[in-house]
């Protein structure tokens, strides 16, 4: 199993969710987060005083999938979340050791 952590632009969320649904992703966790990468934040100006805010608002998705689905998921996210502009985000893929469904006690792929 793989655990996929994705950071994308907030307005891309619905598009990505829809695309992932169509490739068979059963669930995901979404959080509103702030951060920066190469984009390095932006400048805000209040009455002429400049403040550089390093952190930009993004959306973080966490998705657990079976090994055979992982490559397809990464490819789908990369294609749907891209605007080809700076700040589109990143995809991280981690090995997932175990998963358990709390209601039934099922483990492994069947728990996903």
């Amino acid at each position: 199993m793989k655990y996929i952590i994705v950071v994308i632009k907030p307005f891309k969320l619905d598009e990505v969710r829809e695309a992932l649904g169509s490739v068979g992703v059963a669930g995901m966790t979404v959080s509103e987060v702030k951060g920066f990468g190469r984009q390095k934040g932006q400048t805000e100006i209040y009455r002429g005083a400049e403040y550089s805010t390093n952190m930009l608002p993004k959306v973080k998705l966490e998705i657990a999938v079976s090994d055979d689905l992982a490559a397809k998921v990464v490819e789908t996210i990369q294609q749907t979340a891209s605007t080809e502009a700076i700040g589109d985000g990143k995809i991280f893929v981690l090995d997932l050791v175990e998963a358990t469904r709390i209601r039934t006690g099922e483990t492994g792929d069947t728990a996903l």
Partner: protein, 459 residues
Amino acid sequence: MNSRVFRRAIALVTTLMAGASASLAMAQEAAQATTAEGSPIAAATVEAAAAVPDPGNNAWMMTATVLVLLMILPGLALFYGGLTRSKNMLSTITQVGGAACLAMLIWVMWGYGTAFGPEGNAFFAWGNYFLSAVTPETTAATFSDEVISEYVFVSFQMTFAAITAALVLGATVERLKFSAAMLFTAIWLTIVYFPIAHMVWAGGGLLFEMGALDFAGGTVVHINAGVSALVLAMFLGKRRGYPAEPMPPHSLTLTLVGAGLLWVGWFGFNAGSELEADGIAGLAMINTFVATAAGALAWMLMERFAGHKGSALGFASGLIAGLVAVTPAAGNSGPFGAIVLGIVASVVAYFAVARIKGRLGYDDALDVFGIHGVAGIVGAIGTGIVYSPALGGPGDAAEYAMGSQITTQIVAVAVAVVWAAVGTVIAALLVRLLTGLRVSEEVEREGLDIGEHGERAYN
């Protein structure tokens, strides 16, 4: 009872009693007695008793008075509160409210006597303390033969003292103790505000007799508050972390709500300062619309010219700059003079806030000097220009000499600046001695809401 009959009734009673105060019961009896139209007694007394308040004027002035209260709570409180960090929201609005309430009480105790008392010289008045000589029958003069009820005039002027005291504290938020804010308000009103109000607005006052034009308090309120705020802020020192740490406004939404309420209330301030519901009040009203609109957009344009985006805070700042600038000119300018004044004041205040403040390094937290002081000075001097009938102002074409009027305006500004600065130094020294000025470092870091008031604005 319609207003005309009531006027006649009061006139009759006043005449019959030959100046003695009449009871309300007697007034009602008299009103019933004269209900018949064209009664010879009533007809005779209407002409004889000119000095009776017109209910229309009184009603407008009572409305204007509560409009100015709207400027303080919630207007100024939200405008200032939104500009501070969330940990200081409550302390900011509590200081505004506290200073305004204290000013109201002091006003009826010795403020009205010191500014508009029966005895006096060029700098102060005295007498009539605790409103001892004011009754429902006494009246205050307006700019014509009309009079308004003295209680109405006392209340109207009271709101001016209250908002000016609260305005000053915008420069010192996020670090001034609440006790210091209260003590400063009491001393400052007594030695700075009341004398300047007397000098500018009371017959016999130094600047009044000099012919200085200040329709609704550009000098008394805005220059006075702006300069005092700058001096107090310098006395107090910068906030910890200023200007290295970002201190952006915590809610520009609330700031804009406050700015909108200030604009609404400002009609009471400006159009009310005519003291009558007449054409000049109408002129002050339209000027308060257009100068403000011009100021708001001019500030946003300045931001564009400086290479930034036109911002909501810029909009609100320009709006206040326009309002401040038109205050002395409200009834002393034509609408197009007011528009020019709004634009010029907004542009000058923009430079004061965005450029000069940073270079000089004082921490005028909410730009009280940068906007009220600077736009107030532009407005006060500019009033001498836009008063000219050649520019659409209401000045007398035959008599008006722009050069000498501008000189008078500059002298009035200079007197106000020096008086406010010296008085504020004295008040600040006394407060530092008695309560101390600043909160502790720990309270400042945690925020004054918890440290000074024990509550949070947002939970």
